[in-house]
Symmetry: C2
Subunit: 126 residues, 2 copies
C-alpha cells in the first residue's frame, strides 16, 4: 500500500478532500489516520477518522450516502489526499446540503448557496 506522511502531523491525521468525480465540486474535507487510509484503499469507500467521535467513520454508514472512490490522488508531500468520488444519495453534508461548502463569504457576511437536498432529521434519525 502507498505510504503517506502520517508522522508529519502531530496528531497523525491527514486532510482528505472529497471531490465529485463528474462535476469537480468539492463536497467535503475529512481527516484520515492510517486505518482510515488503509480502509479507504481496501474497500473503495471513503472512510475518515471522526475527531468528534474519535473513531473510524465510513461516510454513509448512518445516512447510506456512501462515497464510492473513483480515483485517489495524493499531493507532492504525500500528506494530503484527494478522493474523486461518486457521492451516493442526495448529498454529502450532515446539514442536508449537497456540499459542505454552501457558505459563501461576502464581505463581513455569509450568503447561503442553494437549499438543502435532503432533510437531515429524516436521514439521521435512529
Amino acid at each position: 500500500m502507498v505510504e503517506l506522511a502520517f508522522d508529519k502531523m502531530n496528531n497523525g491525521l491527514l486532510p482528505a478532500i472529497a471531490q465529485d468525480f463528474r462535476t469537480g465540486e468539492v463536497l467535503m474535507l475529512g481527516f484520515m489516520d492510517r486505518s482510515a487510509w488503509e480502509k479507504t484503499v481496501a474497500t473503495g469507500k471513503a472512510t475518515y477518522f471522526s475527531r468528534t467521535r474519535n473513531k473510524l467513520w465510513t461516510k454513509g454508514e448512518t445516512s447510506g450516502h456512501h462515497q464510492v472512490v473513483k480515483e485517489i490522488r495524493i499531493d507532492c508531500d504525500n500528506d494530503t489526499v484527494l478522493l474523486k468520488v461518486e457521492q451516493l444519495g442526495p448529498g454529502a453534508c450532515h446539514t442536508g446540503h449537497r456540499s459542505c461548502f454552501y457558505q459563501v463569504v461576502n464581505g463581513d457576511d455569509i450568503k447561503i448557496d442553494g437549499s438543502p437536498a435532503f432533510d437531515p432529521q429524516e436521514v439521521y434519525k435512529k
Copy 2:
C-alpha cells in the same frame, strides 16, 4: 470579518483548499491561522501559514505565481476554507506541476499525471 473555528484545531490551523475557479481543478491544500485568513480576506491574495517555515506565506511571494481569490467558501463547521482562485503563472506546485495532486494512486504504485509546467530551479532561484 467572518469568524472561523480556529480554536477547534489544537494548533489553530485550519485547512484551506485552493481550487481553480474556471476548471474546478484542486490545485493545493495549505493551512491558515487567523492572520493568514485575515490577510487573505483583506488582500484578495491567498495567504497561508507555512508549517515548515513557521510564518505567514503569501502564495507567489517567491515565484510570482500568486493566487487571486475569486470566491471564498467555508464549510458547515466553519473550520475549513475553500478558495476559488485564479492561479497566476504556470502552476501552483513547488515541483513545477500545475496542481500539487499529480500523483495518482494505482494499487500499490503511484502514477505521475502530466509533466511539470515550469522548472522550479529557475523559478525559485535566489
